[in-house]
């Protein structure tokens, strides 16, 4: 699955992922944003892998925010933008049921 979100006046964030048993797996966050230090990039995938696909955008954003190390600086994008990209990726997968990797058809929006 693939979702993108461009922060108005800011940068693009792209999230590629799979889902298995209702959870996000193999999450990769990419884009033309800035993130300091470099190592904080691994915090994003760590925070997102295993999250329930039924979480709301706000819950995903808060999880990302808490998962980032304390001294991390994310510029041009945001936990909210990452969450929006994931929601879009999930929504697009729902619209293409043949390619949805077993996404439940009756997923509940929280």
């Amino acid at each position: 699955m693939h979702g993108e979100y461009k922060t108005p006046g800011g940068k693009l964030v792209v999230v590629d992922f799979d889902q298995a048993e209702g959870k996000l797996t193999g999450v990769r966050v990419s884009g033309d944003f800035f993130l300091y230090p470099d190592e904080a990039h691994a915090d994003l995938a760590k925070a997102l892998n295993g999250l329930s696909v039924e979480l709301s955008e706000g819950e995903i954003a808060n999880t990302v925010r808490l998962g980032l190390r304390r001294d991390a600086e994310l510029l041009g994008t945001s936990p909210e933008a990452i969450a929006a990209a994931i929601r879009r990726g999930l929504a697009a997968a729902d619209r293409r049921p043949g390619q949805a990797d077993g996404a439940p058809s009756s997923r509940i929006e929280l």
Binding site: K6, S30, F34
Partner: protein, 293 residues
């Protein structure tokens, strides 16, 4: 876009991909109090490394080597002008290869794809089409500044130098140099080992069709832009100044020298050897390029 310009067929042209991907918001640069900035620059004894044609991978590695050496106090703070020996796409630290580049098209057009150590967006480079430089400084030079302020600080002298060339330029946060004639360039920073690397690429002249054949510029990236034609947003310096590329580079370094002092220097054989090792061990590996496939 070459029709009628009198350029020889096949003339080297280049552009800044970010220039296409980002339109400069008309934000005043003087959101920051610049009164202490000159003193911060003048507190250092600056060296100049002039640009020579250099392989893209070696350019990536030199930025890392020189940053660490300035951080360790083994090299004075330095301004390095980049040279290129071939066409290249330089990806930002966190960009996905597949999302940004058509690798088959890049191979067909002789464009080498590399990944740099700083974040930000992809640059499409042709040797005579871009003007790129790096500043290596101890992190203390931006002490007390926010990240956004430090971006404006490191490019402030360039904005002043461009104005002297008649370009109505200003800084557009976070990381753009823009002008009344369109976006001019974009910057990126990396910080490591107690040093800041701030590098900036400006468009001198652009081959938009070639750039668009190699880079993928999706609709989402353009979603907050009011214009659909990429070309309209960029103001390459050749078009804006009608000056040769070397003249512009000479003016930039002259301006820096007059403002803050600048001593001629070169990369040492030892620095080159260390950078070549880094190309072999890291920057030239698939693990690095495909860090985000």
């Amino acid at each position: 876009m070459s029709a009628g310009t009198g350029r020889p067929l096949g003339a080297e042209v280049a552009g800044v991909a970010e220039a296409v991907a980002a339109v400069a918001a008309p934000v005043a640069t003087d959101a920051y109090d610049r009164s202490g900035w000159a003193a911060r620059w003048r507190a250092h004894d600056w060296r100049l490394i002039p640009g020579e044609p250099t392989a893209p991978l070696l350019n990536m590695a030199l930025d890392e080597v020189l940053t660490l050496r300035v951080g360790r106090g083994e090299r004075p703070p330095t301004l390095r002008v980049w040279g290129w020996d071939r066409r290249s796409v330089v990806l930002g630290r966190f960009q996905s290869v597949r999302n940004e580049v058509d690798m088959a098209a890049a191979a067909r057009e002789g464009v080498q794809v590399v990944r740099r150590i700083s974040g930000g967006g992809a640059m499409f480079i042709e040797p005579e089409g871009a003007i790129t430089w790096s500043i290596f400084a101890p992190e203390a030079i931006v002490e007390g500044m926010s990240f956004p302020e430090s971006y404006a600080f490191f490019d402030s002298w360039v904005v002043d130098a461009l104005r002297e060339l008649g370009v109505d330029a200003w800084y557009a946060p976070l990381n753009d140099i823009t002008s009344a004639g369109g976006k001019v360039g974009g910057a990126a920073q990396a910080r490591r080992g107690g040093a800041v690397l701030h590098h900036t690429t400006m468009a001198y002249q652009m081959n938009v069709p070639l750039m668009l054949s190699v880079l993928r510029i999706g609709q989402e990236k353009l979603s907050d832009k009011g214009v659909t034609s990429a070309e309209k947003r960029v103001g390459p310096l050749r078009q804006q100044t009608e000056l040769p590329r070397d003249t512009i580079i000479g003016h930039l370094t002259d301006h820096f020298r007059a403002s803050y002092g600048l001593t001629d220097d070169a990369v040492t054989p030892d620095e080159v050897a260390e950078a070549e090792r880094l190309v072999r061990d890291r920057f030239g590996t698939d693990e690095w390029l495909y860090f985000l496939p």
